[in-house]
């Protein structure tokens, strides 16, 4: 069943077209990743889906409700962690959670139970009495995300929730989200710049650039579609400036960069390219200190898709 359905959605600010006639469908019970470079239109799409702003044209249905006609009905069923920090400076961490639950009309007993659970899950127990204004950016971000779980929801929007978190807190949050989806069947709409996060967490990913959705697929399918090439890295023992010249005639050998010691190559035919490279290095008595051939990761796919999209726009 579709949780979010978007058709021909457009939104512009003054003369800038932030979202350009996009179509999108998100199935229930999954983590849906929404990726794109800065200014691609991610936050605008989130604001449209959470009914904070109205579109210029197009249709939005969230949880089966028309977002343009009944925005409040949608907002009662969703949770939103926006990109910008939001907090009550004078409230303590535990009071922030408690009051947020009250704002969502959660009964007092449930609020108390959830406050304790979330303080524990987000490792906030030690700082529970600290005021928000005295917290670090990462601690404040944890409170902001934890707070959203004070109330029940069918769909959660997370706009770059791991900004400011250390690697351990980041991994704990991702695991917490994974478990929530598994336990409750909720849907998460997730934007991030950290592509390893998207790869770890998301069932499906959409990539947006210049207000247009370029592709939507699962991380594995994206790799199959765009990642048929491998990255070869060769580290030679001493600097050899002529190295790129020696390798340039090998078919399907795309040299990305070389400083004479480390050379990075992309190829869709990596085994044969690798054999040719070794042969040339051997003939020229160039000793190798390290060599690797890695499958393309999501980050490289993202960069490729976005640069292809920019190129076609230009």
């Amino acid at each position: 069943m579709s949780c979010i359905e978007v058709h021909s959605l457009s939104k512009s600010y003054s003369s800038i077209l932030a979202v350009d006639t996009i179509d999108l469908s998100v199935e229930s019970g999954q983590v849906f990743g929404f990726l794109g470079p800065n200014g691609a239109g991610k936050s605008t799409v989130i604001k449209l889906l959470t009914t904070l702003i109205q579109p210029d044209s197009g249709q939005i249905s969230v949880l089966g409700v028309n977002a343009i006609k009944e925005p409040l009905k949608i907002r009662k069923k969703i949770g939103v962690v926006l990109q910008q920090p939001s907090y009550e400076p004078t409230l303590s961490v535990e009071k922030s959670l408690e009051k947020y639950g009250m704002m969502w009309n959660v009964d007092k007993k449930t609020r108390q139970i959830r406050t304790e659970e979330l303080l524990e899950s987000f490792e906030l127990t030690q700082i529970r009495k600290k005021k928000n204004e005295d917290l670090s950016i990462g601690q404040r971000r944890r409170v902001q995300v934890a707070r959203e779980f004070m109330h029940d929801m069918d769909l959660l929007f997370l706009d770059e929730p791991t900004v400011g978190l250390d690697p351990s807190a980041r991994r704990k949050l991702l695991d917490f989200l994974k478990n929530k989806v598994k336990d409750t069947g909720m849907t998460i709409f997730y934007t991030t710049h950290v592509l390893t996060e998207a790869e770890y967490l998301c069932d499906n990913i959409a990539i947006i650039n210049n207000g247009k959705i370029i592709t939507v697929d699962s991380p594995n399918e994206l790799k199959n579609r765009f990642g048929n090439e491998k990255t070869i890295k060769i580290h030679v023992s001493e600097q050899f400036i002529q190295l790129p010249n020696l390798l340039k005639d090998i078919p399907d050998c795309n040299i990305e960069k070389s400083d004479g010691i480390i050379i990075t190559i992309h190829s869709t035919n990596s085994e044969i390219v690798l054999m040719n490279i070794l042969k040339i290095l051997n003939q020229n008595n160039i000793p190798i200190s390290d060599l690797s051939a890695m499958p393309t990761n999501l980050e490289e796919i993202f960069l490729k898709v976005v640069s292809d999209s920019d190129a076609s726009n230009n």
Binding site: K47, T50, K76, P85, S86, P89, W104
Partner: protein, 253 residues
């Protein structure tokens, strides 16, 4: 619980802190008991309607209106803080509408205004009890004017908070405006003794109307002019409330 009540609960929790209480109680008390009695040597009894009030009684009744006005700063501070700290957007992405947000702010300042007025009335009572003349008409009059005044000044604070983003700008503008209201009014001194141009300016200030109505309610001197002042106060409050609501409705994210 209704969304507006939930937001009022939240507003009061974030606004009422020790600093605010000290400001709301200690400051007027110093005025009433220090300035009030110190200036008695300089200011004779003050004629008000058909009565002759002592200066401390005159000042204490004026401080009720002054305190209502001061308490409405809360409205501007809530809106400004919510915008600065991302809570306005967060609240608007939750189970609330802008109308809920606006009405909850008005309800918050009405509650804080009434409590402030009651507090100063209770503390100032020993100062003005000799001249008090409450009746079934005057008490509703005081409550009406307190709420109307709270809406009026709360709307002004809200309008300022929607137009300014920098903390310096917000503080300078709101303090200047409220300082003008406080000192160019009949809260601290009667208009009758002031030079004519200044006395005229007093009546371009809504705090003068609020203070006059509260005094009339406390001392039982309701005249046709006081009723006219009530009408002006209500009309001004309505206009400013509509402007504040429109500006809040148009706030973008």
């Amino acid at each position: 619980m209704h969304p507006i009540i939930r937001l009022v609960n939240r507003n009061i929790t974030i606004s009422v802190n020790p600093g605010f209480l000290i400001w709301q109680v200690i400051f007027p008390l110093i005025y009433i008991f220090v300035a009030g009695f110190a200036y008695t040597a300089l200011i004779d009894n003050v004629p008000f309607g058909n009565k002759d009030l002592t200066y401390p009684a005159f000042l204490a009744s004026g401080m009720i209106g002054f305190n209502i006005m001061n308490s409405t700063l809360v409205s501007g501070i809530i809106i400004w803080n919510d915008r600065r700290h991302g809570m306005f957007e967060q609240i608007m992405s939750g189970p609330f509408t802008r109308v809920h947000y606006i009405l909850s702010n008005i309800a918050t300042i009405a509650i804080i205004g009434l409590v402030s007025a009651g507090l100063i009335a209770a503390v100032g009572y020993p100062v003005f009890f000799e001249s008090v003349e409450f009746s079934p008409v005057t008490i509703p009059l005081i409550i009406f004017s307190s709420i109307t005044g709270a809406i009026l000044f709360g709307s002004i604070a809200s309008i300022i908070s929607t137009r300014l983003r920098s903390s310096e700008g917000f503080n300078v503008i709101i303090n200047t405006v409220f300082l003008f209201f406080a000192f160019v009014s009949t809260a601290f001194y009667p208009a009758s003794g002031a030079p004519q141009p200044l006395a005229t300016i007093f009546y371009l200030n809504p705090l003068t109307y609020l203070v006059d109505i509260i005094r009339a309610g406390i001392f039982g001197t309701i005249t046709e002019f006081v009723i006219l002042e009530m009408v002006i106060l209500a009309v001004l409050a309505s206009i400013l409330f509509i402007i504040a609501t429109r500006l809040l409705t148009k706030l973008d994210f």
